[in-house]
Point group: C3
Chain length 400, copies 3
Amino acid sequence: MELLTINNVWMMICTALVFIMHLGFSTLEIGLARSKNTINILFKNVCIITGGLLLYALAGFNLMYPGDFNGFFGFAGFGLEAPIKDGALDLAYNEGYTYWTDFLFQGMFAATAATIVSGAVAERAKLETFLVFSVVLVGLVYPIAGSWHWGGGFLAEMGFYDFAGSTLVHSVGGWAALVYIAFLGPRIGKYGGDKPLEGHSIPMAAIGVFLLWLGWFGFNGGSVLSAEPGATSYTLVTTCLAAATGAVVAIITSKITSGSLDVTMALNGILAGLVGITASADSVSITASIIIGAVSGVLVVLGVLLMDKLKLDDPVGAVPVHLMNGIWGTLAVGIFREGSSVGTQLIGILSYGAFVVAISVVLVLILKATMGLRVSPKEEVEGLDIHEHKMSAYPDLLDD
Amino acid sequence: MELLTINNVWMMICTALVFIMHLGFSTLEIGLARSKNTINILFKNVCIITGGLLLYALAGFNLMYPGDFNGFFGFAGFGLEAPIKDGALDLAYNEGYTYWTDFLFQGMFAATAATIVSGAVAERAKLETFLVFSVVLVGLVYPIAGSWHWGGGFLAEMGFYDFAGSTLVHSVGGWAALVYIAFLGPRIGKYGGDKPLEGHSIPMAAIGVFLLWLGWFGFNGGSVLSAEPGATSYTLVTTCLAAATGAVVAIITSKITSGSLDVTMALNGILAGLVGITASADSVSITASIIIGAVSGVLVVLGVLLMDKLKLDDPVGAVPVHLMNGIWGTLAVGIFREGSSVGTQLIGILSYGAFVVAISVVLVLILKATMGLRVSPKEEVEGLDIHEHKMSAYPDLLDD
Amino acid sequence: MELLTINNVWMMICTALVFIMHLGFSTLEIGLARSKNTINILFKNVCIITGGLLLYALAGFNLMYPGDFNGFFGFAGFGLEAPIKDGALDLAYNEGYTYWTDFLFQGMFAATAATIVSGAVAERAKLETFLVFSVVLVGLVYPIAGSWHWGGGFLAEMGFYDFAGSTLVHSVGGWAALVYIAFLGPRIGKYGGDKPLEGHSIPMAAIGVFLLWLGWFGFNGGSVLSAEPGATSYTLVTTCLAAATGAVVAIITSKITSGSLDVTMALNGILAGLVGITASADSVSITASIIIGAVSGVLVVLGVLLMDKLKLDDPVGAVPVHLMNGIWGTLAVGIFREGSSVGTQLIGILSYGAFVVAISVVLVLILKATMGLRVSPKEEVEGLDIHEHKMSAYPDLLDD
């Protein structure tokens, strides 16, 4: 009983920390977008965490953890149904947390995948279309895919390993983002314009990254699923060292490639290191965590350059951060973790990639044909805030 | 001993989370006010949390928890006096927390009531007058009223129930705000001006609401007064579901009433849901928590419209969020909670309303006659920051 | 085992709270500097927390806690080496936390000293030079000096007492800052210019101070080194009361000295109170904590005036906040703490002062002769962001 109480306290704190990542994503995205689209981004992020949590309560949780199932798809029914014993909550559910903590912790995770897409399609995607896409992603794609590993499905049985979601969360969001932006096209002026499209508030972006790092204490620390002192504290150390190394190496790499000391690359390096270590934070050596972070730091800088070469416009760098480093982190499990193999990890990566890409392509094509993916050029140039929301984010500062 | 240690850790974390609500209120209020009054709002909020905590240490704590008393008014003496046994802190004080945690958790709550008023009177209230009002509110009104229920007074004995303060905290602040703005009058240009008075930074407002939601993990989660795993985690789930539902329903409602996708209404919907569920978060069903949040989401949108119809100028929507939903949440206890009755809840609501309104009216009339409630029209038009503080919040951004 | 688990949960939370102080320092510093140097400050702060953590893992931790040593200098070897027993982490390391929690908590502390310097030298210091200085400060000076007391060195044996680092953290950073700015000289236009140099975003500064106060829950609360309920909760109360008193007294003092209600002084008063109580938060009376905070509130206001009289340009007030109140807080231990003496406290203060000043002077002279301390006047006037980083913090808001 006391052990459950301790464990549950830790898990509730981790839940709060993952919750605050949604604020981190919000300020990161608005900071890296232009001021005229700020309200639109905030609106999307509010919809994702609120609607996402309700969807997860309605169906997601029971799709992701269906109990006994065929390993590919199972559903335990709509709504939440707590285990009851003698008229009270059955605390024997798990020694690490109660049923309710389990739901809320997982629910805070779920919306993350859609948030990743949100940043990538910022500044030109039609709001309603994006919301429909998100509903399918959070309500169906993410939990079904999640069930394959964390729900005890076929990848769990094969020995695939992804500790806290380099693939299950970050790559899933990253694949969906990649498909979406490929069909959506770049922002007007992004390629061939007079001057680069820049974010409007680097301090907001920095606040976002620090809050995301803070949230990762819960994202990875909570993925231990108990407060076991050795495992949780070790996980926090590998997590923080990978983040730190990611930043330092991204600074050096971008200094080499661009010649300047780029703070957005430093910030992206932190996120890249965090995404990279997420698959293995509990089970690789300290040295390995630093190597993983270092590779992430290189990858994210080259990834941003690659995206621009391919003319795939991703205002916040979601694909380099979440997809490329999600893949790298999952592969790194095969390299550095005892008992894991690169082959099995690859099967997992490809399974998730194929599933998410296939569904996303079909879905985006349907949405394109029906609702339309993009706002009008006029709306895009004048800003989504005024058109879709009839508001400005800084009426006073910009007009007076 | 171990159980006390766990419980106390949880309660200290909740205390920290309630503390950070003061930052949330601060950024919400400045975001929804014009930039020329930013310093003034920050100054008020710093005074409230610092002065409020000292007042609560000096007298509030012992007014709110007077021990055995007549049920209406009691006072256990000035200052803090910890229970000592054998020369050390007596840990038998409570199995959920120590004396010191108890004081600090309650102290962080106390200042909240004044903060609610602060937002409502923003942009035209005289600073010194408001501070005097706040001293009386935090130092006397809030703790005396609190003692009636949480201190074991007459409402506790009648079976009135308010889990974490829909009435004791939010309505108390809301009633005081309503009285204050009724006598204060609207801002110049609010009614009949050329263009609407808009907040100057929606991102700041969004940061505020996310921090308030985070803080509510501690506000409601800590109101369990221990880390009991079932009760705490269940409380967090109902709290988050009501917040999520409040946002979604407020978005739909405001889309219907105004035709646009209003992010400030989405944010207010989150707060409305949180205030609504606060009275019953531990003891209503999941379905009820969603219904409570949904009603809150409608109420807050209609409440803002109603205030404008009545020409009651409330820049941050404090009355719709805290008073209207505080009342709704307290009534909802009678509807959805086993063993509670709408009648008893109504008696509680009316008792608090009558007491706070009566004292506020008297106090505001005295202050109006002596110190004056409003700044001069010149000061108001040019901004309180320059006049009362000789500073600008963004000297550089606004002047260069 | 259960007790270790609880304690370790508390210590991990405190680690996360100290981590978020780095965001607090970042937004405080950018808020109090001009917008044209924002990127530069953020870049420095990202380097400090990431590079600092890696340095502390590489050498700092084993310099600060060398085990048995001569009391002045010891080194337990490069890298982290966890105690292993029977192939697993030896949990008998400490009943308050695991080896990994210990490292991470101390690592989050370590970078703080450099951050203090960062604020003081803002807006004119050459980035690379500052980073070299920081490497020596975080990698050598701070941990060696720290070993004298917390590592069990000669000051520990003399009975010197500094609970959570008024001297070991704050004065160390403060002395280094004082030396650096003495050689660096003031910003162009600071003395004798047409108008005062003002910070560009007071809301950012306010966010910073609230986050720092939040972080201090972990800074002081975690310095108990376990979750012992009486000690941790008492520490939080003295910490918060000193912060509150510092603010209230700084408001009154600055009202007297300058005639206006200065919100930056209110914010600095909070920090001053926090720094002041840090040496004794666990072991002085409530009354003493309020007196300590009150003196801090006076000191910080007078300190800012004194710095200006001496033409020592310190844009964020780092020396008044961290050095002057660090010294005051350490002396206050001798006055208010049973068993401590002012004499021994003075010896400690002077030992740290002499060591940090001596090394800083030598280091700054070498750096001045080799790399140069300041950017060119052209760079300073046009802003470090454009020159060193080829970016602007608010491209959109400032240019459109």
